[in-house]
Subunit: 238 residues, 2 copies
DNA sequence: CTTGTTGTGCAACTTAAGTGGCAGTTGATG
DNA sequence: CATCAACTGCCACTTAAGTTGCACAACAAG
């Protein structure tokens, strides 16, 4: 992308806001942005195929991508993660150069930056700031995946659902973000369960006045009471 | 550790065999080894506390460590991973400096190398070879955790058990390694199930002549037949 | 050799979670 | 504004997986 490109400074500032690029010096960031070009995708499209991530690296500028895996024998699906602005994809391919067989679907209309992944690997050595900022990002990913697996084994579906809700609640406003507009089906796939079970729990939470439920929208009524109920069921988690 | 230390060359060669240090130049590796000292722990001890991993980094020279998490309300335990010679612990703390609350138990008598973790963080920048070798290691970890979570959602206990067995089978000798001497209880905790269920499946596999079972020992009788049975139950995994 | 501990096999049972089905609602689309 | 697809709420039902309990075997330690 050339400096003259329309929206150049918009993309530059977007990168600046990503934790991975924010520590990189402006001059280096201009250097890096040179190698990117922008792409747009519409909601419900599949912008990041397993093939393309072997050769390209993507930075999300706006919109969300749902990353999932399928069992085609049972038609069961598990949403591993939802990526948003500032996230890099696919970080695993960046590290080990192997194919990563997943399904990536756009949850919103999206803007991405794309660059050859081999070039991004060079940045790791040419730009220590980039390298240095990537490591904590990887740590966060490792913790997230590790906790996902642990939760699936150690907690029941009610607890996993409420953990998901609490994790995505803005502590200031008390509003849900990132998952606020998902269907029960999608929520179920995020916690490794099925729509029906999630719906049962949501009805219970609604009946105990803890949640307000509308089509594709959850809202916490009383976060204190919700936390209390959570602790009652899982006393050891303090 | 000084060059004069007994077993210095033994430790040096052990590091050389770890994928993370094998690419590091000898002179640099001597530099690195300077900062380590060795420690021994006996089977069934807890060598790596969550506290100690904030300040220290460990490299396993011999023996295995079982990494697990607990739900103290239900007494359920999940064995996240088993680390062996060449593995670093705790890689997550190395990346993000935060506490990692897990239980690490020695499965064998063990030798470890210990160094201050802050020093190891400096190596990342001082020694590009070390940095470069760490990244694929992190990629492997990410894939492993991601697959663990996916498996828990997408596959039944039989499939998870057989996947565990197959993953730990040496493709040359056909023998089990790493998990060969675990109890059914431990195997269950690795696949997120319970002893009783694992035992049921193992009896079935024994009755179909696929496994030989002794106390704390599993052996595959006919890997071809086992793979066939596996495919029959999970046709889409080719 | 005896004793105690840990691991294994097996059976009866309970239950959380998943399946299937359907009616009613909502919102998007032409 | 009529139609259709997607989402939701609620049933009754099934089942894989987990629980409890116990007898016996293997091994380790004194």
């Amino acid at each position: 992308m050339k400096k003259e490109t329309t929206n150049y400074s918009y993309y530059f500032n977007s990168l600046k806001q990503s934790p991975i690029f924010s520590e990189v010096e402006d001059s280096v960031l201009h250097e890096i942005l040179k190698m990117f070009h922008s792409k747009k995708y519409l909601k419900d499209n599949y912008p990041l195929t397993s093939e393309s991530t072997l050769y390209n690296i993507y930075v999300i500028i706006s919109g969300r991508v749902e990353i999932s895996v399928m069992n085609f024998d049972t038609d069961r699906e598990y949403i591993i993660d939802i990526l948003g602005p500032g996230d890099i994809y696919d970080v695993i391919c960046l590290l080990d150069k192997k194919e990563h067989d997943i399904i990536a679907m756009a949850l919103d209309d999206m803007e991405l930056l794309v660059a050859p992944i081999e070039v991004a690997r060079e940045w790791l050595y040419a730009h220590p700031d980039f390298n240095k900022a990537l490591l904590p990002y990887l740590g966060k990913q490792l913790r997230y995946y590790e906790e996902s697996a642990s939760d699936l084994v150690l907690y029941d579906t009610w607890t996993r659902l409420v953990k998901l809700i609490l994790r995505n609640t803005d502590s200031d406003t008390g509003k849900l973000s990132l998952i606020n507009d998902l269907s029960h089906e999608q929520i179920a796939k995020m916690i490794g369960s099925v729509r029906n079970v999630v719906n049962r729990h949501i009805q219970d939470l609604k009946n105990s006045q803890l949640l307000s439920v509308k089509r594709k929208s959850l809202e916490i009524n009383n976060i204190q009471k919700l936390l209390e109920e959570f602790k009652k069921r899982n006393s050891f988690l303090t």
